[in-house]
Amino acid sequence: MIDFELEPQTLERVKLYHMVAEQMMRPISREYDEREHEKPQQFLEAMWSASALSDAVPESGSKSDGEKKNSGPRLRNLYTVVTTEELCWGDAGLFLSIPNSGLGGAAVMAAGTPEQKERFLKRFRGGKPKWGAMAITEPGCGSDSAAVTTTATRDGDHWVLNGTKIFCTSGQMAAEKSEGFVVVWATVDKSAGRAGIKPFVVEHNTPGMTVVRVENKLGIRASDTAALVFDNCRIPFDHILGSPEVRPEGGFKNVMATFDATRPIVAAMAIGVGRAALDFVADFLKQQNITVRYGISPRRLTAIERDFMEMEVQLKAARLLTWRAAWMLDVGKRNNLEASMAKAKAGLAVTQITQKAVEMLGPLGYSRQYLVEKWMRDAKINDIFEGTQQINMLIVARRILGYGSKELN
């Protein structure tokens, strides 16, 4: 039965996250946009130690996962997207920098054995702040993630990794600045194509793994995006996630399965940023005594009213698609199509919403005195990472047409 009301447990948490976003993130938002590559230690420590908020991490494998399941919301993925929206309303860059198992944890959860999940993820239950990261993109391949050239060669009871990875979110924190790890996707058999690509857990400060660069970016500057070089990096044999066997139905499918869960989260990130801009514009219009007149003839609306309504409804459309994609996972439905729909819609809609917000506010929107210009810069990443706009459109197109990658590429 159609219902758009969130669970009470989720609604309660949303209030809490909103407080975090408003009181802890917004006040330092501009500062860590300007001070790129510096970390808000106090904020990060607070987020790490706030056990009540430990499930703020978007991926599975956080402290709250495992035993304590009864008290929390029943729809976990939905819970994650609504709380992600809240925190990204605060600041998307800071959100990405929060210590947690991150995408590395998501990969462990998707591809690891139960023993590996416990072994690699238990560190996130306490101690000092730690980060997990995932390295898949290479200088020569992004969306075409099956084309990775990083190799993993077996050498007795070790694997030896060689290659270069780029655009690794929280890569520096995971690889060098905490007791975290990086999940590296590498091929064990180039002739096997996709089936030969496997995920490997590389512990922090493993010799042979070097952070060679931390990128300077358009937005989300509070989050580090690292380039990593693997030069004869030796890791224990049992750090390969799942089975080392090369099978046609092998590990690469897990990357794709991971995306089905993470794309709605990225969509929610976008929506949080978009809502920040929308709320700002709404407050501004209120100050200017401009009322948005819902319900009257569309031919009588001012340009400002039209723009505002368009932003509002686009954001809502993106949110509903995102909620649906997350809900499907929660009730055990395959959501590959819907996750890509949500991501494609949210990424583009919020890119446009934030750009419109800057335009609507004129010189005030362009000025760094306000955060609107920052939100426009932050928003753009959501149309790129975890599958660009175009890759998600491609997935949607294949699904609705019943085509595989051979027919439609």
Partner: protein, 369 residues
Amino acid sequence: MIDFELSEEQRMIRETVEAFARDEIRPAARAADESGSVPSELIEKIWQLGLVTSAIPEKFGGSADARSAVTGAVVAEELGYGDASIAVHALAPRLFAYPVLEMGTDAQRERYLRRFTSERFVPATAALMEPRFDFDPTDLSTRARRDGSGCVLNGSKCFVPLAQSAESLLVYAASEAGAGFKGVDAFLVPRDAAGVSIGEREKNMGLKPLATCAVALTDVRLDSEARLGGEGGIDFSRLMSEARVALAALGVGIARAAFEYARDYAKERRAFGVPIATKQAVAFILADMAIEIDASRLLVWEAAWRLDRGEDALKESYLAKNYVAASALRVADNAVQVLGGHGYIREHPVEMWLRNTRGLAALDGIATV
């Protein structure tokens, strides 16, 4: 708790109406568009589905299923998927019956509802729109002036479905100027009342099978019984919200029809040795259509869900309707584009859907859930 799935009953209703739309309505759509009329047998068949009667309470002879805006939106989408003009025609009696049911006094309900339980189609309608480019339901030019215990109506209406055949019209007029939705009243007006003049059949760009007329009201004197809801009047904002949800849902249905047609065509039509759907330039258009249709439907359902909870949904229904008016038009336009030259030819239905979706932005209050 969040749920994106229809109830089992709603799914059954959807299946039934979808099958009917596919097998009975769609095959009649082109001929109806060309001739400008809907076969009365088809209208009778739709009537037999009980889409109007089902909401009438048992004491007036109906079957009194609980009305739901979500269910109404589901039904409207499926009928729109068949053909929007035929859908609006078949559901036009709702424009009269539902406001009476929802907001009429006991006496008004007693007097008017029973007729809608007839075995045969009962034409009835509402007159809301006015011939102005910036027609605005919150600022009606048609005025109701108090006259003793009754009132006098003056004004002109347009796009009144079935005005020529309807026995009674529900006429919307401003009792109080400048009071927005609150200043609007609805009046139960017999078509043959003195001062009511039904104009010629209107000629429109699309929705051609739907018979609509202009209606002129010149000193139409009504007694106090004619004011819907009596002294309490009506909740016009809610009626408009219901109307907008319905029109938006119809739009989603047209868009879905256009999308499916274009998708199937693109998989069949070959160019350069392969189906055109295997080209990203075409495939991405289809992907965009699919995303917009889903987004549109969710916006409609969310507004409908609010109505079912008894909440105010003025803003949500307005935004949903405006969104769909744009998205359905885009989808239909893209469907024509995917078919290329063939899309422009009246042999294929996509050009008709393009004309029909354009109506969504221009029209208001011609359907209800």
